[in-house]
């Protein structure tokens, strides 16, 4: 199969899967099988693109051209491929986990749930392989809209309120800022294609560049920069697999991915470095990562704590992008993958705990570690990866980010990164640690092991070991990341 | 004199008198048209403005009551400013207008000469207005019949006619038509004498349109006036016996279709829509037939529409 066909398949497979799902809604087993098969097929298709990319090619596929000079096109490049790999790979696990979770909780409307899920993945693939900013924007909006029913899945008053905030902020930022910035870019550069070295060179003054990049940063509401981060905690009303989707697989990753794409292929890191266009976004991100970590400390609800943790971790990516040097970009790109793997583990654990015990508050989890040893062990591993300690994958990302900020001689940021890591330890480690300390009465009567269903536990074990593997094979990842063409002269 | 009439209308609170004055105003303007050599227009204005439309007004006033309230001074300001502004633009423009009556104004140079010089040879009728109306700009006239037809459908849709069930249940308010005139025997006698000639005159106007002022349009209005006069004097019911509303309702459509039919036939004969030249063996005859038929169509539609509308109004006031 040629690369362009594979590209098309990447978007089509989840959509087709979704259609079959919808048709087979009556029988849960068939439906789940289809989900799984779709997931695997998609993953295979994504992997099929590797040879081309490793050979330095970037196949292009034009789907339609609604506006002259602005085709809807798909194109592969290393960064997108990485994102697609992460998303499609984790989708398989999320599907398995979702089956366990949804069945375990006897949720309603499961068909609608999996259908929207499939469409979300299709949108994520579209974002990953978007050939220009316009296409990216299209899929970005599509993702917003099709995740909305997922967020409000429960259908109660809380869910609706959360959903309203979710949709409100994402729509507002994307139309108000992102679309505007996109249009402006098009107006300045005459194109929106993603090109190595950027397209804005020679078209902008430093001030314009500064405003524009700031608009992009805030416009990508999915990247949850403060003060547009409120949707993430609000969306915590969703079922846990959805949270995994939001935090790890697709949504927030799509946000930071967009920012990375914009910095690398629209502005070009040289332009940002020369004009200092990233200043505002850089400081906002730094602020966000510190404050979000602090807020996370105060949260007792596990999912809320994880949500604020995500906000903080996303800002690492933004910081990396705005540093505008090779190390920063590498760090940021790795952070996407590493954080995805780490955070999904944590969410799987949170969900598993909920399924098994219906507990959501950290303070209630004392002693649970003995009942659910696998879950909490995985949680511990995930935490370490998020914090960025060896021997977990997360450390590579943090390492490169530190290098990047040192290279950019941004000492304050170096300090903020270190401080934030300390804070990460402070809010993540106690969760796992506390679970292994029993209250006196629990000690008196140790219960039997009572894990969540297998379908829940197995995926989280896989992802936990994944973080470990990412550390070991960090070099391969590094190789892929260095293939990202940062400057025009590179192929 | 026109101006004076208009100012009177502005001040009048009695709608009835306002309408009468308006009829008078129309009559005056038709005299002006006559002076300005626009005999056809004068004819039409007299029949429409002073005749039919006054009758419509009277019929409507019979239903809605006769007085209007005076305009409050504070409500005058905005319209006044608007009017003065618009008037100022017009006056401003008037300085560059060709002087009244001069014969080298642009409009006499470009399109019109052909009508005056060639129409006799191309179309036929000595009345150039008829040639232009029915042939050169026959499409406009087709549209115009469309307007009349639309008005008819609109009034019909809103007021309805042809069935008088609801009318009978209501007590009859004093109305302009029957009550006031039925007693006046003299008037009735005179009208008896008038109506037949009016109808005949209408037919004359219909066929004479080629040569003198007149044509389907004027004929239709005059014919309708005759019937309406009859209705005013003898009441609606006998009038409707002469002209059964149910059947009458078909006629506007028939007239329009007749007109369009000519056009369609000419299309089938290989010409463009409304190209009468292809209708007969030589163009001039074709034009002649075409104009005759479409004028008939116009006449039928206009007469039927006017009568229909009048019936609709008067049934409401029964």
């Amino acid at each position: 199969m040629t690369a362009p066909t594979l590209l098309l398949l990447c978007v089509l497979i989840p959509l087709l899967g979704g259609v079959f799902l919808a048709l087979q809604g009556k029988s849960p087993n068939t439906r789940d099988t289809i989900s799984l098969v779709t997931g695997v097929a998609l993953f295979a298709a994504v992997l099929g693109l590797y040879p081309a990319v490793l050979a330095g090619e970037s196949p292009l596929l034009i789907l339609a051209e609604p506006i002259k000079g602005l085709p809807i096109s798909l194109q592969v490049e290393p960064l997108g491929l990485l994102f697609a790999t992460v998303a499609s790979g984790l989708w398989i696990l999320t599907t398995i986990y979702g089956m366990g979770y949804m069945r375990g909780n006897k949720e309603t409307h499961q068909t609608r749930f999996f259908l929207c899920f499939a469409i979300s993945i299709a949108a994520a693939m579209g974002i990953a392989f978007a050939g220009n900013l316009f296409t990216l924007f299209l899929f970005y909006e599509m993702l917003t809209i099709c995740t909305y029913p997922l967020v409000t899945h429960k259908g109660n008053e809380d869910a609706r309120r959360g959903g309203r905030i979710y949709l409100g902020i994402l729509m507002f930022t994307s139309i108000g800022f992102l679309l505007f910035a996109t249009l402006w870019t098009y107006n300045l550069a005459g194109t929106l294609d993603f090109r190595a070295g950027g397209i804005l060179q020679d078209h902008v003054t430093p001030t314009t560049a500064l405003i524009l990049l700031t608009l992009f940063a805030f416009g990508t509401g999915k990247a949850a920069l403060m003060p547009f981060h409120r949707w993430l905690p609000a969306a915590m009303v969703a079922p846990t697999p959805v949270s995994a989707l939001l935090h790890a697989v697709a949504v927030v990753k799509a946000g930071v991915f967009t920012i990375l794409k914009v910095t690398i292929y629209i502005f070009g890191i040289d332009l940002i470095a020369e004009t200092g266009a990233g200043e505002i976004a850089l400081w906002v991100a730094t602020f966000t990562l510190t404050v979000a970590s602090l807020v996370a400390l105060t949260k007792n609800n596990l999912k809320a704590r994880l949500a604020y943790s995500t906000i903080g971790q996303l800002s690492y990516v933004v910081v990396g992008a705005m540093l505008a040097n090779a190390a920063g970009i590498i760090g940021a790109t790795m952070q996407i993958a590493m954080h995805a793997m780490g955070k999904i583990t944590l969410f799987f654990c949170a969900g598993a705990i909920y399924v098994a015990t219906h507990k959501t508050d950290i303070s209630d989890m004392r002693g649970l570690g003995y009942k659910m040893p696998f879950t909490f062990a995985a949680f511990f591993i995930g935490s370490i990866s998020i914090i960025g300690l060896p021997p977990m994958g997360g450390s590579w990302a943090k390492w490169h980010l530190l290098l990047g900020s040192i290279e950019a001689t941004q000492w304050i940021i170096v300090g903020a990164l270190l401080l934030s890591s300390l804070l990460n330890i402070a809010y993540l480690i106690p969760v796992a640690a506390r679970a292994f300390y029993m209250t006196p009465e629990q000690k008196a009567a140790p219960g039997p092991i009572a894990e969540a269903p297998m379908l829940c536990v197995v995926p989280l074990c896989i992802t936990a070991s994944g973080t470990l593997l990412l550390f070991i094979f960090g070099d391969a990842l590094n190789h892929l990341v260095t293939l990202i063409p940062l400057r025009a002269e590179l192929p | 004199m026109l101006v004076a009439t208009v100012f009177v209308i502005i001040r009048l609170e009695k709608l009835m008198s306002a309408v009468m004055m308006m009829g008078f105003f129309s009559l005056l303007s038709s005299c002006i048209f006559m002076v300005l050599d626009a005999v056809d227009v004068a004819f039409t204005e007299a029949a429409v403005g002073a005749g039919v439309s006054t009758i419509f007004f009277l019929a409507a006033i019979a239903i809605v009551g006769r007085t209007s309230r005076p305009v409050k001074p504070n409500k005058m300001i905005v319209p006044l400013i608007t009017c003065l502004g618009t008037g100022a633009i017009l006056i401003y423009a008037s300085f560059d207008m060709p002087r009244f009556g001069i014969n080298d104004a642009p409009i006499h140079q470009h399109v019109a000469p052909r009508y005056l010089n060639d129409s006799a040879g191309e179309v036929g009728p000595p009345n150039v207005v008829t040639s232009v109306l029915a042939s050169y700009r026959g499409y406009d006239t087709f549209g115009e019949v469309g307007v009349v037809f639309t008005a008819f459908i609109g009034v019909f849709l809103l007021l309805g006619a042809g069935t008088r069930k609801s009318g009978k249940e209501r007590p009859a308010p004093p109305n302009v038509g029957e009550g006031s005139m039925r007693q006046k025997v003299v008037l009735r006698e005179v009208s008896d004498l008038v109506i037949a000639p009016v109808l005949i005159f209408a037919l004359y106007v219909q066929w004479h349109g080629d040569f003198g002022p007149g044509g389907g349009f004027q004929a239709g209005v005059i014919f309708a006036s005759g019937i309406i006069l009859y209705a005013l004097i003898y009441g609606i019911v006998p009038a409707q016996k002469v002209m059964p509303p149910r059947k009458l309702a078909y006629f506007p459509a028939i007239g329009l279709l007749l007109y369009a039919g000519v056009g369609v036939v000419s299309m089938f004969k290989g010409g463009n829509f409304l190209n009468y030249s292809v209708l007969a063996h030589d163009p001039l005859h074709g034009q002649h037939y075409g104009i005759l038929i479409i004028e008939l169509g116009v006449g039928i539609t206009v007469a039927a529409v006017m009568i229909n509308i009048f019936f609709s109004f008067s049934e409401r006031s029964l």
């Binding site: 909006e141 599509m142 249009l183 | 700009r137 469309g146 459509a253």
Partner: protein, 492 residues
């Protein structure tokens, strides 16, 4: 026969109208009306195909060559408007029968279809004519039929709305008549192409200037350019439901088309924009228009009225596009003319379907309708997204061009305002969606059922078209772009 198409496209509906009026049976009349309307769609597409690529057709009515006779002239722009009127009109007409039932007794239906057909025919007539006075004649047919259509609304306020429209419309039409008389006075011709040739020589003539002023005011009344939009909200709100869909789709759009024709072709850009500075008038007014109208729409509690106000805002976008006077702006204007016609017709039709069951268009009464009438509401949502301008819908394409046009002028503030207005659209559409899906169904409407397919299919047709024209824009934006270049005299 294909060389007779310009006459045929008009005659199909214009002849069906009197035939319809002669039918006593409403159902038969409907069948006749629908079939003739769809045939005219075919004719319109055939014409579009003939002019595709920038050709022009000139058809001489009565066989008289212009400027003596009346010319029918079709180029790409008029063909597009023709497709707009016939296609959208026919779709609405197809849904009309069901939605008429509650309003009037059945034997009156044939009259209603007649009026509808007349309105459609006259709009076609306006679109294709190449004669200035002929525009006035057909404009009057369309106005009269529109007044009648509106006045048939259920609410008695429909009558006052219609009357108000009649007065304003007639003043507007008379102004246009004065304008036509003035240019005739100066040039001695009524043919539009001929006028276009002769007018530049008289650019300094005050009569031409006054004529332009009268024309602008007159047509602005018809287009409902702010602040002359006064008649529109009430008319749209109280007109019979499906009628609103038709009027919103076509009437104002055709008026806008006339405006484009005259301003760009007859008077010429140089005269209109450089000498008369039309841009200075249109731009601020339309900006004020879309801001105020969008804001007003946000605070409406009646969906029909909300959509009517939104129409005012959207019309302002189109006028703004004209006023900006660059290719993107004009492209946006024409594209949006087409797209908005489609979207608004669909929205009003979907709303009509809801009213058909719920018998109210108040937000509070539509609560939970997403559950009781899922298919209608889904179509409504798609169209609503189109109205906002969400990507992959038609609305996005036109907004894209409009904002590009603003940026091309380096008017950043305008782009910001446009986006702000779009956000207001998010709010007002969001309000409806919120009520439809997230408010509990009130007890009195719990038994509401989905509408019959004959209404549902037209709604979905519009919804799918909205998506289709969001992706394949050769017909809308592609054509509009070419037309814009021609009108502005840039390139070929």
């Amino acid at each position: 026969m294909s060389n007779q198409l310009p006459a045929i496209v008009l005659l199909l509906t214009l002849l069906a109208a009197p035939l319809c009026s002669m039918m006593r049976n409403g159902d038969h009349a409907w069948k006749l009306a629908v079939s003739s309307a769809w045939l005219s769609v075919v004719a319109a597409f055939a014409l579009l195909q003939q002019v595709w690529g920038g050709y022009e057709i000139s058809y001489h009515m009565g066989g008289w060559p212009p400027p003596w006779g009346i010319e029918v002239r079709i180029d790409e722009l008029s063909a597009l408007v023709l497709v707009l009127v016939t296609l959208f009109g026919s779709i609405v007409l197809s849904a009309l029968r069901e939605s008429l039932r509650p309003i009037m007794r059945s034997h009156r239906h044939s009259l209603y279809y007649t009026t509808f057909l007349l309105c459609m025919a006259s709009l076609i007539g306006i679109t294709i004519t190449g004669d200035a006075f002929n525009v006035f004649v057909f404009l009057e047919i369309s106005s009269l039929s529109t007044y009648a259509l509106i006045a048939r609304g259920r609410d008695r306020r429909a009558l006052t709305a219609s009357f108000r429209y009649l007065i304003m419309g007639t003043i507007g039409a008379t102004f246009i008549l004065i304008a036509i008389g003035f240019i005739y006075m100066v040039t001695g011709t009524l043919n539009m192409a001929d006028l276009a040739e002769r007018l530049p020589a008289h650019a300094d003539n005050r009569v031409v200037q006054a004529s332009f002023a009268f024309f602008t005011i007159g047509i602005a009344l018809k287009v409902a350019v702010f602040p002359l939009h006064y008649w529109l909200p009430n008319s749209y709100t109280y007109a019979p439901k499906a009628t609103t869909a038709f009027l919103a789709a076509t009437a104002t759009k055709v008026s806008l088309y006339v405006m484009i024709r005259f301003v760009f072709d007859v008077y010429g850009i140089e005269f209109s924009f450089q000498q008369m500075q039309l841009g200075l008038l249109l731009v601020p007014l339309s900006i004020a228009g879309f801001l105020i109208a969008s804001l007003t729409a946000v605070f409406q509690n009646d969906v029909k009225r909300l959509l009517a106000w939104s129409s005012v805002a959207q019309l302002s976008y189109m006028v703004l596009g004209l006023g900006l006077l660059n290719i993107d702006g004009l492209t946006a204007s024409i594209t949006h003319m087409f797209n908005h016609a489609m979207i608004k017709a669909g929205l009003f039709l979907a709303l009509a379907a809801m009213i058909y069951r719920v018998e109210s268009s108040k937000l509070s009464d539509l609560a939970g309708i997403g559950r009781t009438m899922p298919y209608t509401t889904a179509a409504f949502v798609i169209l609503g997204l189109g109205l906002i301008g969400v990507p992959l819908t038609a609305g996005f394409v036109s907004k894209w061009y409009l904002i590009s046009a603003a940026l091309e002028k380096d008017w950043l503030w305008l782009a910001v305002l446009l986006i702000a207005s779009s956000l207001m659209a998010v709010v007002y559409i969001g309000k409806i969606i919120d009520a439809a899906y997230f408010k509990p169904v009130s007890a009195s409407h719990a038994q509401v059922k989905e509408v019959p397919p004959i209404i549902l299919i037209p709604c979905w047709t519009f919804a799918l078209l909205t998506i289709y024209f969001g992706i394949d824009t050769r017909l809308s934006a592609g054509l509009a772009g070419r037309v814009a270049q021609t009108l502005l005299g840039v390139g070929s």
